[in-house]
């Protein structure tokens, strides 16, 4: 019997990579069948963990394809933590390079959206907010669950059609690559997915990355082809959005 650490290292490699079970670490009875039970468990638990995080991908590709992709991912990127809700952080990128999925150019973006939705559901509720100060008198309070995505494919439309079980809507989606900005946040027990126009998406991404709001706004307006339209869109899609809470402290000079 090898030392325990060596035994466990060999067994872990054999389970994840499908390597043969080393005869120097011999279990006794019906070893191959018993070993298969453990291998099946490891792979099925990992597949199901990914399925819970990436339900739209699962529905799009079907159980068999999803399991094949999940098993390939498990071999390439096995989990390092027991907290499987966090497993699959690199699954979208993996799908982007997964040869059997090359024809599904939108799949990685769908996975990114699925992961953002799952992340929102594991975030605190909307009562917990981050505060963005604007010129010291305006407080923009955003849910801690809020994230933005910059995608090249209409993953939000694909997800909505699948959630609605609407094959017609799914078939009608224009899959041509086009820049899309999407906000995702948690509202109660569900996650909200909302497309954003370019300027609001850029502004929101910048302030969520920690940029000062004044600087973010100036940068977005400087790049905008139509600054006034961009400002209006930011007012509508960020400051007046469902997720936003605005508090304004009046300037002392304006007190009656």
């Amino acid at each position: 019997m090898p030392p325990l650490a060596e035994l466990q290292r060999r067994m872990a490699m054999a389970l994840l990579r499908g390597d043969g079970w080393d005869a120097e670490a011999p279990p006794a009875r019906r070893a191959d069948a018993a070993f298969d039970v453990h291998r099946d468990t490891v792979l099925s638990v990992l597949s199901n963990a990914l399925r819970l995080t990436f339900p739209t991908v699962d529905t799009l590709v079907g159980e068999r394809f999803f399991n094949q992709a999940a098993h390939a991912y498990a071999a390439a990127r096995p989990p390092r933590r027991a907290r499987l809700s966090e497993y699959g952080e690199t699954f979208p990128a993996f799908l982007g390079g997964y040869a059997p999925a090359q024809a599904l150019t939108y799949l990685a973006d769908v996975a990114r959206l699925d992961m953002a939705v799952a992340g929102a559901l594991f975030a605190p509720g909307s009562s917990v907010r981050r505060h963005v100060a604007i010129e010291d008198r305006i407080d923009l309070a955003l849910p801690l669950s809020l994230t933005t995505l910059a995608l090249r494919h209409p993953a939000d439309l694909i997800r909505a059609a699948i959630e609605a079980d609407d094959d017609q809507a799914l078939a009608a989606i224009d899959l041509a690559p086009r820049q899309r900005r999407i906000a995702v946040w948690r509202d109660g027990r569900t996650a909200v997915v909302q497309p954003l126009s370019l300027a609001p998406g850029q502004f929101l991404s910048a302030i969520l990355d920690g940029d000062p709001a004044e600087l973010a706004l100036a940068d977005v307006l400087a790049e905008a082809a139509a600054p006034q339209a961009a400002l209006t869109a930011i007012q509508t899609e960020v400051f007046a959005a469902r997720f936003a809470q605005i508090t304004h402290t009046p300037c002392p000079d304006h007190t009656p």
């Binding site: 019997m1 030392p3 325990l4 650490a5 035994l7 466990q8 290292r9 067994m11 872990a12 490699m13 389970l15 994840l16 011999p26 279990p27 006794a28 009875r29 019906r30 070893a31 069948a33 018993a34 070993f35 039970v37 453990h38 468990t41 490891v42 638990v45 990992l46 963990a49 096995p78 989990p79 390092r80 933590r81 027991a82 907290r83 499987l84 809700s85 559901l121 594991f122 975030a123 605190p124 509720g125 009562s127 917990v128 981050r130 801690l144 948690r186 027990r189």
Partner: protein, 302 residues
């Protein structure tokens, strides 16, 4: 990241889990339990599904307001030669602080090696080296959690040739060395015995002989599946996906007749049925516990 106010400053005291039948709570039943508040003595959850923030964690806090809760971990990897994942242990400790569970348990198994985590309860060779590793890890876990934990006898598919100790001896020594308790999984006894060509009743008796009755703090009951192998033999799979088998009910009766009533859990993790099915299984367990209490005159202290 700011802490949600709902989780700050909680000082809920731990409620001991009574020697009654409880039910393993899984996500598909959250809505039912929160809306209907069914008459269940206690619930047990896998803490790995409730770490951090989010909908599931908030559900568990809501359940805890009305029920006693036990935490049954699957990811501490108490048998890992590499030691415990300190971050994961801290996460479990934080959940314990918030939920104040009546019991905390994990398995006599390993899942982590060489920086990888395999989500299964993998078998340990019952050697003296292994005993030292598990005792050290259990001690670390108990120190971090500030309480003794229960260690569950595993389902066995692999038996390591020439092991120095039996499972019963190993658990008995672990209880003495680490000061932990034992979670007696009756289904695992049935599964292991069948897979290793042993008598389930003998395996149960061996465990009850090897582990002090006072150290057994909880019992688990579940269903298992049968897989027919190419050679015509059958392997039993501990899948928690069916009702408790008659053989397991019989072993349960024998166990509680010997050690007295204990908190007893109905586990169901795959092909999860309607909640009423779990309630019916718990009612059977409760009737057996009640018979034992009548016979003994009281529930055994645990």
């Amino acid at each position: 990241m700011p802490s949600p106010q709902s989780r700050v400053g909680e000082s809920r005291s731990a409620d001991p889990i009574p020697a009654l039948a409880g039910i393993g709570l899984r996500f598909p039943h959250h809505d039912h339990v929160l809306a209907r508040r069914p008459d269940v003595a206690w619930f047990e959850v896998h803490p790995e599904n409730y770490l951090g923030f989010g909908v599931a964690a908030e559900d568990l806090e809501a359940v805890r307001r009305d029920y006693r809760v036990s935490l049954h971990a699957t990811g501490l990897s108490l048998g890992s030669a590499d030691g415990l994942d300190a971050e994961h242990l801290a996460d479990i400790a934080e959940l314990c602080r918030r939920i104040q569970p009546g019991l905390v348990s994990d398995h006599l198994s390993w899942s982590a090696a060489s920086g990888l985590h395999l989500p299964d309860l993998l078998p340990l060779p019952y050697e003296h080296e292994t005993l030292a590793v598990v005792a050290r890890n259990v001690d670390q876990a108990q120190s971090a959690l500030g309480r003794p934990i229960l260690i569950e006898n595993p389902s066995t598919y692999l038996a390591f040739a020439g092991a120095a100790l039996t499972e019963a001896q190993f658990l008995g020594e672990l209880v003495k060395t680490a000061g932990c308790g034992v979670l007696l999984d009756i289904n695992n006894i049935a599964v292991s015995a069948a897979n290793l060509g042993e008598s389930p009743a003998e395996r149960l008796r061996s465990l009850l002989d090897g582990v002090p009755a006072a150290a057994i703090g909880e019992i688990h009951l579940a269903g298992h599946a049968l897989r027919r192998l190419d050679d015509g033999t059958v392997l039993r799979i501990d899948d928690h996906g069916s009702p408790v088998s008659p053989a397991v009910w019989s072993l349960f009766e024998e166990a509680v007749a010997r050690i007295g009533a204990r908190p007893t859990l109905i586990e169901w993790d795959t092909d999860i049925p309607a909640f009423a099915v779990l309630e019916a299984e718990a009612a059977i367990a409760q009737s057996i516990l009640a018979q034992t209490v009548r016979r003994w005159g009281h529930a055994a202290a645990c």
